[in-house]
Symmetry: C2
Subunit: 471 residues, 2 copies
């Protein structure tokens, strides 16, 4: 099958010194130098991929998985009234982003016939209020449960799953409950694997050798998306198109590598410690949230590849245009000049809404007469880019012609490629998350898990000084 061409474009004129001045903007020489370094990482990624590593790159090829998911979804999955997705972090953010981008904004309020699949409820947080409310709201006898964790060790996910499993068993009995549970987990190892085998759950694989935050294009992201009616084949088509564009060895012609080069220079040469992702579309906000994990966990590292202490990283921030013009733009234009800002624009929105009537009596509103909301929103984006540039704040704009499965797939792959190239430029290992172990272990200790007794003693003896409490 011929790979389609990428439809996403990047305008980065406003990150250059010619637009925002040399104190905040990049010179061509700097960008060319960064691009040269990025080229080495592009080559390395493709070489490692050819050698069997960088397995996330292969995900767009898994057409058999698409067929398996589609088969389950169409034969049975979409007939359920409700779907509870139990998973946290990389085990839910990708599905949420995909469904938010591509399904009806009020999907859960539509009748089953309109939404083409179950209502979706995500249990990510072990927040008892949300869990109880979910169990009150769904119809457990018609509910499919998709539990997602590679290791089965994740405390939040297993806690929520055990609660849901118990409620399901109470409602439909143990045998039927087993049929309403689908596990997405490691094909061979782990606690959920063990449980799924014992109980006979249906299961889909978490792809081996891929970090959780890069699994959106696997069953982790695609099973819930397909159940909610998303065209997951189209998602992979878009990802494949962007993968093709990511082969370009000229980093300035390679979207992910270009973005990585700009962000790295901004962070390390111009003190832009934050990267703001600000789409001008409610439906794209979830992608900004998904990216937030990707960029933070991948680049936020204490050690360099040579094990020097570097405390690397750039803080990703999600914002939403035009809403955050009424919340954050005051700070972005007048506060510390410490951000690189990426605006995303959409060529044609999926709905056209015209302002048909403005009151004749109020001249000042005449400029809205016969305007389209999409036109207003897009001009707000242009106005914001201009205002940021005027205030010497570096910003770039990503444009897509439309929000569809293809362009959403492009975003996912571009940001993943960007992140792995970014790891190279920041000189850190973009995989793994060693910094979260301490907190996980402390939770185990505080929950009384066996083997964590010493840490528990340390923790319970470590109360802060009470003179620093105000109550």
């Amino acid at each position: 099958m011929a790979t389609a061409k990428s439809r996403l474009s990047i305008d980065y004129a406003n990150v250059m010194a010619s637009a925002v001045g040399q104190e905040n903007g990049l010179t061509d020489a700097e960008l060319n130098d960064a691009a040269t370094q990025a080229t080495a990482h592009i080559d390395r990624i493709w070489n490692e991929y050819d050698a069997g590593d960088q397995r996330w790159v292969a995900l767009p090829d898994n057409r058999q998985l698409v067929a398996d998911i589609e088969s389950f979804a169409s034969s049975e999955g979409r007939a359920y009234e409700d779907l509870i997705l139990v998973g946290i972090g990389g085990s839910s953010l990708g599905a949420i982003a995909t469904i938010q981008a591509l399904a009806h904004p009020f999907r859960n309020l539509q009748p089953h016939s309109n939404r083409g699949g179950p209502r979706l409820f995500v249990l990510d947080n072990p927040d008892p209020e949300k869990v109880a409310a979910t169990l009150e709201t769904v119809d457990l006898s018609k509910t499919l449960v998709n539990v997602v964790t590679k290791s089965g060790q994740t405390a939040e996910t297993m806690a929520n799953f055990l609660v849901v499993k118990d409620a399901l068993e109470q409602t439909v009995g143990q045998d039927q409950a087993r049929k309403q549970i689908v596990a997405t987990t490691d094909p061979k190892d782990g606690l959920l694997r063990q449980l799924a085998d014992q109980e006979g759950y249906r299961d889909f694989p978490v792809p081996p050798g891929v970090d959780g935050r890069m699994t959106v294009l696997s069953a982790v992201g695609m099973l819930p998306a397909a159940l909610c009616g998303v065209d997951i084949g189209g998602l992979l088509d878009g990802a494949a198109a962007m993968r093709e564009a990511s082969r370009n060895r000229d980093a300035r012609q390679n979207p992910g590598a270009l973005f990585a080069s700009i962000a790295w220079l901004a962070a390390t040469k111009r003190d832009k410690s934050m990267l703001v992702m600000m789409p001008y579309a409610d439906s794209l906000f979830g992608i900004a949230d998904w990216f937030r994990q990707l960029w933070a966990e991948s680049l936020g590292k204490r050690l360099s590849t040579a094990d020097d202490e570097v405390f690397a990283g750039q803080t990703p921030i999600k914002a939403l245009g035009a809403i955050d013009q009424h919340s954050q733009i005051q700070l972005y234009t007048e506060g510390p000049n410490d951000k690189l800002i990426c605006l995303t624009g959409v060529g044609t929105y999926r709905s056209g809404v015209e302002i048909a009537a403005t009151p004749d009596s109020i001249d000042e509103l005449g400029y809205l007469r016969n305007a389209e909301l999409g036109q207003l929103l897009d001009r707000e984006r242009m106005a914001t880019a201009w205002a940021l540039t005027n205030a010497n704040r570096p910003n770039l704009s990503i444009s897509i012609p439309a929000i569809d499965a293809g362009t959403v797939g492009e975003f996912f792959f571009m940001h993943e490629f960007q992140t792995v190239v970014g790891g190279g430029l920041f000189d850190v290992n973009p995989f793994g998350q060693p910094g979260v172990e301490a907190g996980k272990n402390a939770t185990y200790a505080l929950m009384g898990r066996e083997g964590y007794e010493t840490l528990r003693d340390e923790l319970t003896g470590s109360g802060g000084e009470s003179r620093y409490t105000l109550s």
Copy 2:
């Protein structure tokens, strides 16, 4: 009426040098010095209030407004099937935060009898996809529309309102439409005032002399909240309790002033350019988002009070515990040490959910047996505070005994007081948002509004260099 005592407490041991080292933590001497400066601002705020300024401080006293809102809500408002709130920034964030904190998490999915009021749809963004989906989903013949803008100039709000108004008129006719619209706007001036008078809309006041981002305790926040069944009297009670605590001239005993002092020292003496608000409760996430506007727009200022160019401010970031442990904590603990992190804990959640059964066959999950989800979530918070402290990342913890109207009211008032004291410490005017004018004017220009022709010519002639476009 006797004012209740504040129930919120702050533990700031982990922002001190004794916990996270002197490079990142504060000394007692520094904090005492900042507190002394804060005292001057506490005194100034109360003096200005007594002299008739700082009108936001008076909002908790407006019991007549509570009675008026309650009267409208109980006699008619809550009987509607749907409520569309049209407003952006300060005209919607407070209502969203309040309702998210105090209503059922899946309120819109409940039958009318359970939710005690209309379903809520917020049209903040002029996103045509969301607007069209909202109009598809609501029953316009049973829909109340609350349009909120002080000036009636806000392009997004007026655009969305004109669309909704037109749809409503098409459905129920002009006369009936007028009865289903409530305007919250300036009592005397502005375009929406003018329209409301012409059309005979019912109306509630945006309080004069109060910035939009501080109107949550006025009709702006309280009318939608009351329509959704929130105890708005309790909200004001809590705010009044916190106001009482805010009278303390010792800034180390004054919650808002203490928080402001810590944040200001962290930002200006320890390079903590970001303030992360991370509640451990889904329902409190909206308050973090509301705070985000408050802190960003109030302190993010180019000019000092003496009109020197200072580019002040600290970037507020919202995060959610425990979810963001699986997204941001890697960066927060191992990345650049550039954040002050505020965790919020809840004593007793409104639901108790026990993990009744763990599989006997899997020993490793035994630690979850008979645990409460709320206990797990709270221990995750403690574990995160410990892990952050271990990595020398300054953090503080706010605790409330429960999430109710009173504690939510306390949060609002505390953060407002904190922000105005913060303005004093950062030496900027915390009111107004001069930095957003440029973008607003550019939008008007691009939309062809009369009087903006010169700017329009400048904008349309300012295209970036095409060699910086990748497509």
